[in-house]
Symmetry: C2
Subunit: 111 residues, 2 copies
Amino acid sequence: MAHIEFVRGIKEETIPDVRLTRSKDGTNGVATFIFSDPQALAPDFGQEITGMYLIDEEGELVTREVKGKFVNGQARDLEVMYAMKSVNDWDRFMRFMERYATENELGFSKA
Amino acid sequence: MAHIEFVRGIKEETIPDVRLTRSKDGTNGVATFIFSDPQALAPDFGQEITGMYLIDEEGELVTREVKGKFVNGQARDLEVMYAMKSVNDWDRFMRFMERYATENELGFSKA
């Protein structure tokens, strides 16, 4: 089952919004994940976020570009960038997103 | 460029929300498009909707399952179903959606 982790072995249950941008020639792309009040930021979570891991039957994709967005001095949202540098990268990422989207009832909509 | 038409030759500029459902084995899927106040329903459009055409560099996908949703006796929204019956159908549809989504700044989000 396709899922997301911020600490290895602990599934993040909060479902993000995901924005996609891609260069015209298809060789570069960026996916930006926004998690509102994720479990990984809960006061009792007690584990350090080491990255964002996208896990499915083909394996694992990893990014370290995880930022907290602060509201009144507290991190409330996580904003994560996943960069793709080739058509293969993009296709692999989209296979993950197709699985994750259909399992979690995500659809396409205007950002 | 990936785009959508309701009448051949006339590009629909309204960007829909698209919900995806897929069977666990991947062989069946349905995409549901919701267009709010599309140009094709404007009083001065003056053309009969013949289907929904998804057009990109690979060709054209067509569905006839186009329904108007009525508010106070007037069609305001279009709800369109696109059914996929194989993994190949799904992959072809997703190639369209990837192009359409990135050109129109769509992302993934909870329905």
